[in-house]
C-alpha cells in the first residue's frame, strides 16, 4: 500500500505543521504488551510465533482426524465411522495437514527468521504481514467450522470434479473447503509478495544474495512457488464455486465439460505446492547440520542452485498425478521423464548434507537428530517417489496405500521432522529458554519409531492391493496385520507429538530456575544468533555489515595456518548486547489488518448461507481497506527505518544508488 507504507515522514524534526495533511481518523494503537499487543502487532517475530501456535493447534485437529482414520481401519468392517463420515474425515485430515499445518509452519519460520537472517528490522509490508496471518487463521477456522455446520468436505483434499459438484456432494462441506482455501490462498499470496520483496530489497550492507543463509534461500524459492501456484488453484476453485453455487457448466459432463480440467488445474498448483512444503524444511536442515558438524555447509552454491532447480522443474511434472486419467501415452511419457529428472537436484542436496556431516565433529543434539531424521526418512520417501515416476509402475501403485506411504514419508518424515528440528533449534532464540534436551532426544526416538511403524507397513499394504480412500476392507485379503501395526504406530506417533507439546510447557516452567540462555547457546554460524535471546523487538542494534557467508561464525573463530579453529571472541564480544533500542524506529501496530481479515470469512459465510451477510462482510473488508490506507503514518517523532540500508558491497549487477537517496535524506529526520 503505497499510501502509507513508504511515505516520508509527516513532520521534520521539530516541525509541527505538515505541508500536507496526513490522512487518518484514529490514532494508531500503542500497546506493546498483553493480548492487545498481539492482536495489533505488525512485528514479524510475533506474527511468526502466532503462525506456529496456530499450526500446532490445527495439528491437533488434523492428528485427531488421523487417529480416527487409523482406528476405523484397525480391523476389517470397522464401525467407528460410516463411509460418508470417513470421507469427510480423511478429506479434512489431508486439507488441514497440508494447508493449515505444514504451510503455516513454513510461514512461521519464514516470518520469524528471514528478517533476522538478512539483517533487517522487519518485513517489507508489516501490516500486510499481520493481515496474512489473521486471514489464514480466519480461513482455517472457517474451514473447520464446517464440522459444526453440516459436515466437513468429503471429496478428498484434491477435490476432483464432478465428484465434488452438488449432485454427488450436496452438503455445504465442499463450499466451506472452497472458500476456506480461497481465503488462506489470499493469505499465502500476500505473504509471498511480502517476503520476496523483503529478501530482494531489505538485506543488510554486505548481505549479497550468495551470502544469505540457506534457509532464506529456500524460503525465497518457496515464496516464488507460492506466488505462482496459488492463482492456479484459485482459478480452479472459482470454477468449482461457480458450478456449485451458480449452476455453471465447468464440470457438467452432460454439457461437454471435462473432469480433466479440474485435475490439470489442481495439479499444476498441487505439484509446486509439495515442493514449497518441503523446501523450508530443507533450508532449516541445511542451516542446522553445519552447526552440529562444526563444518560449513558442503557446496553452498550447489545447495542454492539445486533449490532453484527444484523450483523451476516442479512446474513441469504435475501430470504424474494423472498417469491413469487417460491423457494418452505421449503425455504420460513426457511427464514420466520429467519426473525422473527432478530427483537429481534433490539427490544433490542429500549428498551435500552427507558431505557436510562427513569428517565433521558431530554433536547429536535434538535438532541434529531430527535433521538426520529428515535426511533418512525423506530419502526413503524419495525412493518410492522415483518408483512412482516410472509410469508403468505407477499404474499399479496409484490409488493404493503405496502412494499414501510415499507422501507421508516425504511430508511427515521430511517436512515435519525438519520443522521439529527447527523448533528445537530456534526455541531459545525466540523464547529465551531451551527445550529440554533429554526429553527432546526421547521425543525423537519415539517419533521415529511411531512414524515408521505407521507408514512403513503401508508400502506393503499398497503393493498387496489395498486401495486408498476406502472406509473399510474385508477380511481375507491379508490386510489385517499391517493395518493393526499402522494403527499402533499412529497412536505412538500421537504420543510423541504430545511429548513435544509437554516439553514446551515443562521447559518453560523449568526455565525460571535456570540461568538465562545467552544469545548463542548452540555455537551457531548465522547472524540471527548474534542478537540477545529472546530476540529484542528491534532485532539488531546496530545493523551488522556482512562480509561473507556464515559471517557470525567468523566473528567468533579464526583459522590458524594449519586449519585449526581458534575462538578469539567471547559471546560478549561477538554478540550484540541488549540495548534500549533508542534511535531505532519500528513500524507502529495497527488494528486494520485484523479487521479486513475478519471480514473475509463473513463474506464466505454469506456466499454459502445468505447474500446479505456477504454484503456485510464485503463492507467490512472494503471499509477496513480504506481505514488501513488512510491510517496515520507511524509515530512521526522517530525516523523511518522500514527500508533496508543500501547494499554497499559489490555483488555484480548491484544497482547504483539513485539520487533519491540523497533527497530522501534531506527529508528524513535523523535521530540524535
Amino acid at each position: 500500500m503505497a499510501l502509507t507504507e513508504e511515505r516520508p515522514l509527516a513532520l521534520e524534526a521539530g516541525d509541527t505543521t505538515p505541508d500536507y495533511s496526513p490522512a487518518g481518523v484514529f490514532t494508531r494503537p500503542t500497546a506493546s504488551t498483553g493480548w492487545r499487543s498481539w492482536i495489533t502487532t505488525v512485528d514479524h517475530k510475533k506474527i511468526g510465533i502466532m503462525y506456529g501456535a496456530a499450526a500446532i493447534f490445527f495439528l491437533a485437529i488434523g492428528g485427531f482426524e488421523a487417529l480416527l482414520i487409523r482406528a476405523q481401519l484397525w480391523a476389517p468392517r470397522g464401525s467407528l465411522l460410516s463411509a460418508d463420515l470417513y470421507n469427510q474425515v480423511y478429506t479434512m485430515h489431508g486439507t488441514t495437514m497440508v494447508f493449515l499445518v505444514v504451510m503455516p509452519i513454513g510461514a512461521a519460520f519464514a516470518n520469524y527468521l528471514i528478517p533476522l537472517q538478512i539483517g533487517a528490522r522487519d518485513v517489507a509490508f508489516p501490516r500486510i504481514n499481520a493481515f496474512s496471518f489473521w486471514c489464514f487463521l480466519g480461513g482455517g477456522i472457517f474451514l473447520n467450522s464446517s464440522w459444526l455446520l453440516g459436515g466437513g468436505a468429503d471429496g478428498g483434499w484434491f477435490m476432483y470434479a464432478p465428484n465434488s459438484g452438488v449432485i454427488f456432494s450436496p452438503t455445504h462441506g465442499i463450499d466451506f473447503w472452497n472458500f476456506g482455501l480461497i481465503i488462506t490462498g489470499i493469505a499465502s499470496l500476500t505473504g509471498a509478495v511480502n517476503l520476496i520483496v523483503t529478501v530482494l530489497n531489505m538485506r543488510a550492507p554486505g548481505m549479497t544474495l550468495m551470502r544469505m543463509p540457506i534457509f532464506t534461500w529456500m524460503a525465497l524459492v518457496s515464496m516464488f512457488l507460492l506466488l505462482f501456484a496459488i492463482p492456479v488453484l484459485t482459478s480452479a476453485q472459482v470454477l468449482l464455486m461457480l458450478d456449485r453455487l451458480f449452476d455453471a457448466n465447468f464440470f457438467n459432463v452432460a454439457k461437454g465439460a471435462s473432469p480433466l480440467l479440474w485435475e490439470h488445474l489442481f495439479w499444476i498448483f498441487g505439484h509446486p505446492e509439495v515442493y514449497l512444503m518441503i523446501l523450508p524444511a530443507f533450508g532449516l536442515v541445511s542451516d542446522i547440520l553445519p552447526v552440529f558438524s562444526r563444518k560449513p555447509i558442503f557446496g553452498y552454491p550447489f545447495i542454492v542452485f539445486s533449490g532453484i532447480a527444484i523450483g523451476f522443474m516442479g512446474w513441469g511434472v504435475w501430470a504424474h498425478h494423472m498417469f491413469v486419467s487417460g491423457i494418452g501415452p505421449i503425455s504420460v511419457t513426457a511427464f514420466s521423464l520429467a519426473t525422473m529428472f527432478i530427483a537429481v537436484p534433490t539427490g544433490v542436496k542429500i549428498l551435500n548434507w552427507l558431505a557436510t556431516m562427513w569428517g565433521g565433529k558431530l554433536r547429536f543434539t535434538a535438532p541434529m537428530l531430527f535433521s538426520i531424521g529428515l535426511i533418512t526418512m525423506f530419502t526413503i520417501g524419495g525412493l518410492s517417489g522415483v518408483m512412482h515416476s516410472v509410469a508403468p509402475m505407477d499404474t499399479q501403485q496409484t490409488d493404493t496405500y503405496f502412494i499414501v506411504a510415499h507422501f507421508h514419508y516425504v511430508l511427515f518424515g521430511g517436512a515435519f521432522f525438519g520443522f521439529v528440528a527447527g523448533m528445537y533449534f530456534y526455541w531459545p532464540k525466540a523464547f529465551g529458554y531451551m527445550l529440554n534436551e533429554s526429553l527432546g532426544k526421547t521425543n525423537f526416538w519415539l517419533m521415529l519409531l511411531g512414524f515408521n511403524l505407521t507408514f512403513a507397513p503401508m508400502h506393503v499394504l499398497g503393493l498387496q492391493g489395498m486401495s486408498r480412500r476406502i472406509y473399510t476392507y474385508d477380511a481375507g485379503y491379508g490386510f489385517e496385520l499391517w493395518n493393526k501395526v499402522a494403527t499402533i504406530g499412529a497412536f505412538l506417533l500421537a504420543a510423541s507429538v504430545a511429548l513435544f507439546v509437554f516439553n514446551i510447557f515443562y521447559s518453560r516452567s523449568k526455565a525460571r530456575s535456570l540461568p538465562p540462555v545467552g544469545p548463542d547457546p548452540w555455537d551457531a554460524r548465522t547472524i540471527e544468533w548474534m542478537v540477545p535471546s529472546p530476540t529484542p523487538a528491534y532485532n539488531f542494534d546496530p545493523i551488522p555489515t556482512i562480509t561473507r557467508v556464515d559471517d557470525f561464525w567468523y566473528r567468533k573463530y579464526g583459522e590458524t595456518a594449519d586449519h585449526k579453529l581458534v575462538r578469539f571472541a567471547s559471546d560478549e564480544e561477538a554478540c550484540q548486547p541488549l540495548t534500549d533500542g533508542k534511535g531505532v524506529h519500528l513500524p507502529s501496530p495497527s488494528y486494520w489488518p485484523i479487521v479486513v481479515a475478519f471480514g473475509l470469512p463473513i463474506v464466505a459465510y454469506g456466499m454459502i448461507f445468505s447474500l446479505w451477510l456477504a454484503l456485510v462482510g464485503g463492507i467490512i473488508v472494503v471499509g477496513g481497506i480504506y481505514g488501513w490506507a488512510m491510517e496515520p503514518p507511524d509515530d512521526p517523532d522517530l525516523a523511518h527505518d522500514d527500508h533496508g540500508p543500501a547494499d554497499h558491497a559489490s555483488d555484480g549487477g548491484a544497482s547504483a544508488l539513485p539520487a533519491a537517496a540523497e533527497s530522501e535524506a534531506k527529508e528524513v529526520e535523523t535521530v540524535g
Binding site: V193, P542, Y554, T560
Partner: protein, 210 residues
C-alpha cells in the same frame, strides 16, 4: 591471539550504527518495495487469467445454445477495446502530470481514465444483457459459463481499478497526494495497464480468433 589467524575475522567496527544507517535509506534493488510488490502481484495474475483463458479455449465450442461467432458483435466490442486502450494513454499521462507536479492536470487525466473505464464496463454490461436476451445465459452451455466467467472476472478487475482511480482523485482534491507521492499513482497505473493488457489478450483470443 597467540597465533596469527589466516582467515580474517569480521571486525565489529565495520557494522553500521543505527543513526548512520538511517541515511543509507535505500533498497538493495533500487526499486521501492511497493513497486516491486506490485510487479510480483501482476506476474502472479498472469497465472490466474491464464487459467481462465485456457478454460475458455477448451470450452469455446458448446454442445447447445448460441456459438461464439453467432453471438459476438465484433464492431461493438472493437469500440469497447479501443476505449480501454485509450484509457491506458490517459492513465500514463496522469502519471506524467503528477511527476511534473501538475496536480490539476493529473486529476483531469485520472478522471478521463475512470470515465473511459466506466464506459468500457457499461459496454460490457450492455453486451451481456444483449447476449442473455439472445439466449446465452450463464448456465446455458460450457461456452457461456467460460465466457461470462472470463470476461466477468476481467470486468471486476476493471471496476476495482476504477474505484482506486476515484480514490486517488479524491485524495488529490483533499491535498493528500503531493508530487513526492507520485509513485502511488504510478503503481495504480501499473495495475490499470495490466488490466488493459489482459483485455488485449482476451479480445484477440476470445473474440477475433475464429
Amino acid at each position: 591471539m597467540a597465533e596469527t589467524l589466516t582467515s580474517r575475522p569480521t571486525l565489529e567496527s565495520a557494522d553500521a550504527h543505527a543513526p548512520h544507517a538511517h541515511i543509507e535509506h535505500d533498497t538493495n534493488t533500487g526499486i521501492s518495495n511497493t513497486k516491486l510488490g506490485m510487479w510480483l502481484f501482476l506476474a502472479s495474475e498472469c497465472l490466474l487469467f491464464g487459467g481462465l483463458i485456457t478454460t475458455y479455449l477448451l470450452y469455446k465450442n458448446p454442445l447447445e445454445g448460441p456459438t461464439p461467432h453467432e453471438i459476438y458483435d465484433i464492431p461493438f466490442t472493437s469500440t469497447s477495446s479501443f476505449v480501454l486502450l485509450m484509457s491506458s494513454l490517459t492513465m500514463v499521462l496522469a502519471v506524467s502530470a503528477i511527476e511534473r507536479a501538475e496536480h490539476q492536470r493529473m486529476r483531469v487525466w485520472l478522471t478521463a481514465t475512470a470515465l473511459l473505464g466506466g464506459t468500457f464496463i457499461a459496454g460490457q454490461i450492455y453486451e451481456f444483457t444483449v447476449f442473455v436476451r439472445e439466449g446465452l445465459g450463464f448456465t446455458t452451455s460450457r461456452f457461456s459459463s467460460a465466457f461470462y466467467t472470463l470476461t466477468g472476472f476481467h470486468g471486476v478487475h476493471v471496476t476495482v481499478g476504477i474505484i482506486m482511480l476515484v480514490s486517488l482523485i479524491v485524495l488529490s482534491l483533499r491535498g493528500k497526494l503531493p508530487e513526492h507521492r507520485s509513485e502511488t499513482v504510478e503503481i495504480v497505473g501499473l495495475y490499470w495497464h495490466f488490466v488493459d493488457v489482459v483485455w488485449v489478450v482476451i479480445f484477440a483470443i476470445v473474440y477475433l480468433i475464429p
